[in-house]
Amino acid sequence: MSWAAVGAVCLACYLLKLLGMSVPPSWVTGRPWLAGVSRRLPVALLAALVATGTVTSGVHLVLDARLAGLAAAVLLLAVRAPLILVVVTAAAVTAALRLLAPA
């Protein structure tokens, strides 16, 4: 992975921001589906990232201690715990389970 590749993707993200600021508002309001898609994209991608990061490892389905960590995260998010607590607890629960029950 080259610096050029990193630079290119950063530039692409920046250009998206600049594009938004340079477009007349009427262009966007005339296309309501744009905002809808743009709202849903993070949902779809984040869900995919959560799922693949929890139950897969490479090309395999792997159910391991991560499940417990994510379950703990869900509980904490449900009670509106601060982010740092959610993430640290997820890691701690996962690590603890691995320690107690090495697969």
Binding site: S38, L41, P42, V55, L83
Partner: protein, 252 residues
């Protein structure tokens, strides 16, 4: 005469607090990036030059599952597309002289958009000044906190020997879940369906597709919601609920 001072101080206070809250995401990003194989330098550059939390997390998330740089880049750009919509919202509110646009654009993220577009029942001149103040303070606060946290997370991640032993492989999914959570609470009914389809497509894709393609392909899940409705503004659930459920600095 107390209102002008109260308004300004409140904007500054909220902006700074928001920065600190999302900066915490930067810690997990930094650790994640390093764990996915990026150098501390490259990790820092991502936070400095991309400055969009969701995109950055997607980028390293895809790399961590073995995906190619191209697949990671596609995911990052897809997630960053909403910043374009944010730019359209923020542009008229700031009404900046054209020469400032390229500089200001870098700071267009979830948090700055939310703070800038907050309703302010005052005269237009003051509203514009407050909008600009909100944008600037929030933007700078998030930028500084995010980047400092990224560096700290990257250095801390480097120092850890075996990431799995400390359960660090659960950090990424947990952070993504935290980003996703407020969106699941959104009133739009199809959101949860889109998330479910995204998760299923993602997992199936990981099993059958070349490494890393699963996540960008999961973008197709947006179709699961049927025709997207008209823009409903930026009340993306829970932006100001204590900051913990904001999209990571730079937004994602």
């Amino acid at each position: 005469m107390r209102r002008p001072v109260t308004d300004r101080r409140r904007v500054i206070r909220d902006g700074v607090a928001l920065g600190l809250a999302v900066g915490v995401f930067g810690l997990s990003f930094g650790a994640l990036a390093v764990d996915a194989g990026l150098s501390v330098a490259r990790t820092s550059v991502l936070s400095l030059a991309m400055f969009t939390g969701g995109s950055q997390l997607a980028y390293v998330g895809v790399l961590a599952t073995g995906g190619s740089t191209a697949a990671a880049a596609v995911s990052a750009v897809l997630l960053g597309s909403r910043n374009a919509v944010y730019g359209v919202v923020v542009g008229p509110l700031l009404a900046l002289p054209r020469r400032w646009r390229p500089v200001a654009a870098h700071l267009v993220i979830d948090e700055t958009t939310a703070m800038t577009s907050a309703p302010r029942p005052v005269d237009p001149v003051r509203a514009r000044r407050l909008a600009r103040l909100a944008f600037l303070v929030t933007g700078l606060s998030v930028y500084v906190c995010w980047n400092v946290a990224t560096l700290a997370g990257a250095l801390a991640g480097r120092a850890v020997g075996d990431p799995d032993r400390f359960g660090l492989d659960a950090v990424g999914p947990a952070a993504f879940l935290a980003l996703l959570w407020p969106r699941l609470r959104a009133p739009e009914p199809r959101t949860r369906l889109v998330a479910l389809v995204g998760a299923v497509v993602g997992v199936l894709g990981a099993l059958v597709l070349p490494a890393g393609l699963a996540v960008p392909v999961a973008a197709l899940a947006v179709l699961a919601g049927g025709r997207p409705g008209a823009a409903a503004g930026h009340r993306d659930g829970g932006h100001r609920d204590g900051g913990a459920d904001s999209d990571g600095g730079g937004g994602p």
